[in-house]
Amino acid sequence: MREPHPKRKNYLGIMGWIWGGNYRIERYLYTLHRVTGLGILLFFLVHLCVTTFFRMQQQSWEAAMEILHNPWFKLGEYLVVLAFAYHSLNGLRLIIQELGFGMGKPAPPIYPYRDSLRKSRRWSMALVGTAALIALVFLYDFLVGG
């Protein structure tokens, strides 16, 4: 194996997305944020092709839509909805926290240590809960035939 660059000896690459050490829930929210982001990007590229190349003639549009109304594609579309609900709400959390809001006041590092993210954990939980709620609303419409 090649020796890692001395400045990057703790570099984990993609493996770090799966396991970076004994981290808290935010670490896994980060992994899920990346995976959902890449998933939505992949869907978006296919979606852009379908909605532009098959849009000029009624026949080709209806043929394409018939394929996409297959239950497996519906399931795939629902996964995109889930990914969007998660990615947008977690993104909102990231924006709020990265701009420094809701982090609490700095405190001296005395055991048991408190990290600032933990103070806003109930907000993380509320966002995950809201994402689940949105997912259920969309699930209802998918099931009744949306």
């Binding site: 890449l38 990007l41 849009r55 209806e62 969007f84 701009l99 609303v137 949306g146």
Partner: protein
């Protein structure tokens, strides 16, 4: 400093995508709930409904704006991930130019089609 502004633009486009894509998702997927609320989405994936939206300047503007926001937000995010995985300056430059060229092409094509349908 340039990177800070590019990152800030990703935050701003993120919020704009959440709003515009939220409208798109609700309109396309919650048609049953919308009709219960008295809003008729008119079977959103049907040809007639799609053409009706295509000829509406508000929908066309919304779609083109969504396309621009999504392309910036997603391709900048992809560039960040790729930059984490490769260290070579040459490859990073190629990634930047490749992504930029792809984004411009996708935006041009994705704008051309709705504009043609709008004026047809």
């Amino acid at each position: 400093m340039k990177n800070a502004y590019l990152w800030l633009a990703q935050l701003v486009t993120g919020i704009l995508v959440a709003v515009t894509l939220g409208i798109h998702m609700v309109w396309m997927h919650l048609d049953n709930i919308l009709s219960a609320l008295g809003i008729d989405a008119n079977e959103p994936t049907s040809w007639s409904s799609m053409i009706q939206r295509s000829r509406d300047i508000v929908w066309a503007t919304l779609y083109i704006a969504l396309l621009a926001f999504v392309l910036y937000h997603a391709l900048y995010g992809l560039r960040n991930i790729l930059f984490e995985l490769v260290q070579s300056r040459g490859i990073r430059r190629a990634v930047t130019w490749g992504i930029l060229a792809f984004g411009i092409l996708a935006f041009a094509w994705g704008t051309y089609v709705p504009v043609i349908l709008l004026i047809k």
